[in-house]
Amino acid sequence: MSHLGIPKTYKLFIGGKFPRTESGRILEVRGPTGEFLANASRASRKDFRNAVVAARKASGGWAKSTAYLKGQILYRIAEILDGRSDQFVNELVGQGLPETKARTDVSEAVDLLVHYAGWSDKYQALFSTVNPVASPHFNFSTPEPVGVVGIIAPRRGSLPELVSAIAPALVGGNAVVALAGESALTAISFAEVLATSDVPGGIVNILTGHRDELVPEFAKHMDVNAVLLCSDDADERKIAELEAVENLKRMSLQPDRSLSPSPYHILDFQEIKTTWHPVGV
């Protein structure tokens, strides 16, 4: 018996929901032989601003949740992604990736999530200090999430590239607005994983769209605290840096490829807070 498939509509991921772009614009996605695959959403500046509002609203709760819970949720993302690996492989193969490469991509992404899940309750100890001040005070410095982080994923935007960019900011207690790379379909399917992994709505928002149009907006927005820009393009970097001046955004400029797993990528989106208190009676 024949069964006509029901292709998925790829929308944006904002505030835990999957809205269409308010702009009504599309990114047409075609397979390796030019066959039509899908109309992804081409996010607008307004979509980006909506995503920042959602991220800001959610950020306080995520930042305050325990390290243990954040670790559990990161691990949960890995579990759900692993469970759906066939879906991702099929989708990647449909976009022209050889199956072995597609499988490696998915397992790499899973491993990255497991890696960062484990950091959730350890990087604080690594990057904290008790400072032996020369006065009768107890004095300590600890990392705190910077707040809302804009992430420009590597241009190609394979699954491990996207995950390597999002996971460190996420496990560090930040809310994220990410611009996916060219693999829009993979990014939105990953959003479905996030949506079913107990990640609170608004903590990760994923947009698909034109990089030239959106990078300056990420850098410019006054309620974005930090931006990770994965780019080898000197002009793009400079434009973003200049736009970021007005609120002194923290900028992490990284090469246009997967970030190798490191707690220093978590530290890139932390502020160090130092607290003093007198010792005495």
Partner: protein, 483 residues
């Protein structure tokens, strides 16, 4: 007014003597281990008297270039080849020499900048020496500082520092830079160049290799030329947020590293269960320390409504007893305003405060006739929208608001683009941690204020800057990490 123009508050004069050291009539630039003349010069004055203290060289583009090249040469040929232990020994020497000449440095600092001798003697100079001593010990231990990461020096560091803590800021900047293996070109502020130049004398005495630290004097144009110089690998700036943003712009796209320590508008929050007398001392120290020329000053006081009247009454009484006057007098609590420009800025904002409807109060004592002075001042009936609440005054002016519960205090406290520091006064431990965690600020003092230490990282959230100085976290600003 008494026979002594400066004497207020009923104490016998106790001025520090100035006959035990020399301020030269003129100073040149310290470049490549030599004193180099410049075509132009400018005067530095004592803000408490208006008298000219010395004439210093004005570094133009040519001299900046010379200094950066000297630093580059010293980096390549000498400093990057020394072991960490040897670098550290130079820093230990510098710390010791500074301790030995502490009295001279304290007096010169107070003469050139206007700060009370009690502060320069007890805070600025000892802390500056401590910064050299602390970082000296790091020089051969950097491999342990960053777990799992490789560490290497950056190269030539261009540093621009402000006039509020001239020597201390020089130490904050130079000590970690050298410990981490970099060489330095430092520009002190145009109104307070003398202690940095004296520090250069001390580098000579320490036998520090030529070009490892270069001190160039000048104003904004000199700083700009330094920051923009293509051979500068890292920029470290302490100063206003406006200039900080200009610098951030100028390093965009260059790949230069940078740290910025900028302005602040710290909230000092006093709860009804605080030890009120201690809190009042903390409020006074928070805002009147160094005439309020402090980026982390507790310039916004939030008092819980139930004790507002008591606190304000006690505060006024305490302010009546503050001795304003001769910075060199050991009784002085509040010294001279650093420059005429700064005095004008303070007056402008105070005028705006009055015009916008806040209520001003100042103690009854007079002010010296000569020099730049401003009375310790407080404003009540302040609204969040007032300029005096939103803008950094950088003077001895406190704005007071009230609150009812912790959440309201946090919301108001965080309602500013700044995020450098904050204070909390309460006897309840769990409340302390709720508040210190909730303040968006890099340094939070609980039941104390304005404490500093080389082991303790300092630096701001949001528009108060990027990066930390001091402590383990401050080191990373002067290293390249590979991981």
């Amino acid at each position: 007014m008494s026979a002594n123009d400066f004497l207020l508050g009923g104490f016998a004069p106790a001025p520090e003597s100035t006959d035990h050291f020399e301020i030269k009539k003129s100073y040149d630039l310290f470049i490549g281990g030599k004193w180099v003349k410049a075509a132009k010069r400018f005067e530095t004055t004592n803000p408490a008297t208006g008298e000219v203290l010395s004439e210093v060289a004005l570094a133009g583009k040519k001299e900046v270039n010379q200094a950066v090249k000297a630093a580059r040469k010293a980096y390549g040929e000498v400093w990057s080849k020394l072991s960490g232990a040897e670098r550290g020994k130079y820093l230990f020497r510098i710390a010791r020499l500074l301790q030995e000449r502490a009295r001279e440095f304290a007096v010169v600092e107070s003469m050139d900048g206007g700060k009370p001798i009690r502060e320069s003697r007890d805070v600025d100079v000892p802390l500056a020496a401590a910064h050299f001593f602390y970082h000296a010990g790091w020089a051969d231990k950097l491999a342990y500082a960053f777990p799992g990461a490789g560490v290497s020096p950056i190269g030539v560091v261009g540093q621009v520092i402000p006039w509020n803590f001239p020597l201390l800021m020089a130490a904050w900047k130079i000590a970690p830079a050298l410990a981490c293996g970099n060489t330095v070109v430092l520009k002190p502020a145009e109104t307070t160049p003398l202690t940095a130049l004296k520090l250069a004398e001390l580098f000579e005495d320490a036998g520090l290799p030529a070009g490892v630290v270069n001190i160039i004097t000048g104003a904004g144009e000199t700083g700009k030329a330094l920051v923009e110089h293509p051979y500068v690998d890292k920029v470290a700036f302490t100063g206003s947020t406006a200039v900080g943003k200009e610098i951030r712009r100028s390093v965009a796209g260059t790949g230069k590293k940078f740290t910025l320590e900028l302005g602040g508008k710290a909230a000092n929050i006093v709860f009804e269960d605080a030890a009120v007398n201690e809190a009042v001392e903390g409020i006074v120290n928070g805002i009147f320390f160094n005439q309020g020329h402090v980026c982390c000053a507790g310039s916004r006081l939030f008092v819980q409504e139930s004790i507002a009247d008591t606190v304000i009454k006690k505060l006024k009484k305490r302010m009546e007893s503050l001795v304003v006057g001769n910075p060199l007098d050991k009784n002085t609590d509040v010294g001279a305003i650093n420059s005429v420009e700064q005095l004008e800025r303070i007056k402008e904002l105070v005028k705006a405060g009055k015009e916008e409807g806040a209520c001003i109060w100042q103690p009854s004592g007079g002010l010296p006739r000569k020099g730049n002075w401003f009375k310790p001042t407080l404003f009540t009936e302040c609204a969040q929208s007032h300029r005096i609440v939103q803008e950094e005054i950088f003077g001895p002016v406190l704005v007071i608001q009230t609150f009812r519960n912790p959440q309201e205090a946090l919301t108001k406290a965080n309602n500013t683009p700044y995020g450098l520091s904050g204070g909390v006064w309460t006897d309840k431990g769990s409340k302390i941690f709720k508040m210190t965690a909730g303040l968006n600020a890099g340094v939070v003092w609980a039941n104390t204020f304005n404490k500093f230490d080389p082991t303790s990282p300092f630096g701001g959230y949001k528009e108060s800057g990027i990066g930390r100085e001091g402590g383990l976290h401050g080191l990373s600003a002067y290293c390249n990490l590979s991981h």
